[in-house]
């Protein structure tokens, strides 16, 4: 064996390194589809939009619609709820960004940036608690907004996190009025 170790070391070294390198690239290349197959497929990615007639929602009424498999809350807030939300100074908020897909990422969480543009009474939010994904219950909790029964997160009347383990305000999806009464989500 001693002779073969010294006979042509560069040739064996080359094969060793080349095989190892090709093997490593090969394993990575093969792993990719096995990992990627778990991501959402084309059907799930096809961006669904939902159109909702909001004209029949009286003040103080809420409806829940389904968008991308998730519940979306649409609430026509009462004047008292709007006043309560407006009265909160920004410094009292746990999460000071609007989390509104229709606004820039750094928009502040003022009540005006949470409601639907052009109709401050209307608020449209994804009804998924930003803690661990439960559906909060409406008009409950210490701030009269939404309360998540799973782990006790309290949201105010503008869907902003005020107390509990959730880190962010309820997300606002892309929304636009397609007519005076119909709003498109997505």
């Amino acid at each position: 064996m001693a002779e073969s170790d010294t006979a042509d070391p560069s040739r064996r070294d080359f094969l060793y390194i080349a095989t190892g390198a090709v093997g490593a690239v090969g394993v990575t290349a093969v792993a990719w589809p096995f990992i990627a197959q778990m991501n959402p497929d084309a059907a799930a990615l096809a961006l669904a939009t939902t159109e909702v007639d909001v004209s029949s929602i009286a003040p103080g009424m809420s409806i829940t619609v389904k968008w991308r498999g998730k519940p979306v809350f649409i609430r026509n807030r009462t004047p008292a709820e709007i006043e309560a939300a407006k009265a909160v100074p920004l410094s009292d908020l746990r999460d000071r960004t609007a989390r509104n897909a229709n606004l820039p990422d750094d928009a502040t969480a003022d009540d005006a940036n949470r409601g639907v543009a052009g109709n401050e009474a209307l608020i449209i939010m994804i009804g998924v608690c930003t803690h661990l994904g439960c559906v909060p219950l409406g008009q409950q909790g210490d701030y009269g907004g939404w309360f998540c029964p799973c782990h006790g997160s309290h949201y105010d009347t503008a869907g902003r996190i005020r107390q509990g383990p959730a880190p962010e305000n309820l997300q606002i999806p892309p929304v636009a009025f397609v007519s005076d009464s119909v709003v498109r989500i997505g």
Binding site: D41, G69, L132, C148, H151, P165, P167
Partner: protein, 416 residues
């Protein structure tokens, strides 16, 4: 380590032929027939055998249930009801599987507390302990995937909450959650992959069990006295002494399981899981299965998403470190007067966390949960290292025979 009293000798032509080519009979004989086992093991040491039987039972009932179950969101709940009402003995198989999971966890918790009491994790059995914690983690994952399959309300919301735990990871959390779900919410792709993994993991558990037993058989069993086996008289062959003792324990354990399966089959589960999954409505009060409640209480004790998830992970991870956190050189709590008291305080803490995990997250429950969570970690990070250093252990007996045999008997036997 003590050598077996005699070596395996194949008795006939076939076994001689086989053993010369693959010494599997020698291996089985050495591991489960003549294996030298301390003569003083009590019934707390039977739970390893009970766990092996429960794993086999879960795999067998699971394989036949898989012949009837359909992993699709529109059919999963109905197929489980079909198993309960139409499949021959389907009710029995499903109740055995569902309650079997609970009893699997009862056995594993007794097994783990036994290890903590008798210091089973100490040198030279650290790897044995680590493999055990790994088995526990695999059991938790398997049980979680299985709980999602009936597609009831608790199934759906358990899947939602647990997958959202990964969303707490900074920056990449959202992408990981989406990747795990195969969509933007828990849906058919999620159910299908959980079913695939629920079928896979038990066989991985079986593989790690083989390593666990291997790691047990290198140093040999610990024992309630906690001192090493020294002479052959300290041991008895595994068969018939412990096949009979473990056999009796298994029969009694299965008897209790049968009582629950036949008389209280839903006592350990939650009625909300008989409501079909509804993605738009979270049940007013969601809880995991009882065996995960302590960790759920720890998750909720921390008033921050990332913090809660980290505490939950740390509560399990700290178990891996136990062999190095305990500084005492004495294994058995029988000879550790201070540690023994802290052990029972820790047991009460775990029972308390289990109860708190089942209560709503408000008021005094949250405060109590925080106190017990802090104590849970104090036990591992402060009590284990400090007590080992300051405690004066009781004198250990000279031989593991001393506590069980009349005075002088072990000396007489050793002299023979």
């Amino acid at each position: 380590m003590i050598k077996p009293l005699y070596k395996y000798e194949p008795k006939n032509g076939f076994t001689r032929w086989l053993d010369a080519r693959l010494p599997v009979l020698t291996l089985i004989h050495g591991s489960f027939v003549v294996f030298p086992t301390p003569r003083n093991l009590n019934y707390w040491y039977s739970f390893g055998a009970i766990l092996t039987v429960m794993l086999a039972s879960q795999i067998v009932t699971g394989i036949v249930l898989a012949m009837h179950y359909i992993p699709h969101t529109s059919l999963a709940f109905a197929s489980v009801e079909d198993i309960m009402r139409n499949v021959n003995f389907g009710w029995l198989l499903r109740y055995l599987h569902a309650n079997g999971a609970s009893f699997f966890f009862i056995a594993v918790y007794i097994h783990m507390f036994r290890g903590l009491y008798y210091g089973s994790y100490k040198e030279p059995r650290e790897v044995l302990w680590i493999l055990g914690v790994l088995l526990y983690v695999l059991m938790v994952a398997t049980a979680f995937f299985g709980y999602v399959l009936p597609w009831g309300q608790m199934s759906f919301w358990a899947a939602t909450v647990i997958t959202n735990l990964f969303g707490a990871i900074p920056l990449i959390g959202e992408s990981i959650t989406t990747w795990l779900l195969g969509g933007f919410s828990v849906d058919s792709p999620t159910l299908n992959r959980f079913y695939s993994l629920h079928y896979l993991l038990p066989f991985m558990i079986a593989g790690v069990v083989v390593l666990h037993i291997w790691a047990l058989h290198v140093p040999g069993n610990g024992n309630p006295v906690g001192i090493q086996v020294r002479v052959p008289q300290d041991t008895v062959p595994f068969h018939p002494y412990y096949t009979v003792k473990d056999g009796l324990a298994i029969v009694v354990f299965l008897f209790v399981l049968a009582v629950v399966v036949f008389y209280q089959p839903n006592a350990l589960s939650h009625p909300d899981n008989y409501i079909p999954a509804d993605p738009l409505k979270t049940p007013a009060h969601i809880v995991p299965e009882w065996y995960l409640l302590p960790f759920y209480a720890i998750l909720r004790a921390v008033p921050s998403k990332l913090g809660g998830v980290l505490a939950l992970g740390a509560a399990i991870f700290v178990l891996f470190l136990v062999p190095w956190l305990d500084t005492s050189r004495v294994r058995s709590a029988t000879y550790r007067p201070i540690y023994r008291q802290f052990f029972w305080i820790f047991v009460i803490t775990c029972v308390g966390l289990t109860w708190l995990g089942s209560q709503p997250p408000e008021g005094g429950y949250v405060i109590a949960g925080r106190i017990l969570t802090i104590y849970y970690f104090l036990h591992f990070l402060v009590v284990l290292p400090v007590v080992g250093l300051v405690e004066k252990p009781k004198p250990l007996p000279a031989s593991i025979n001393d506590p069980v045999l009349p005075p002088g008997e072990s000396v007489r036997q050793a002299a023979e």
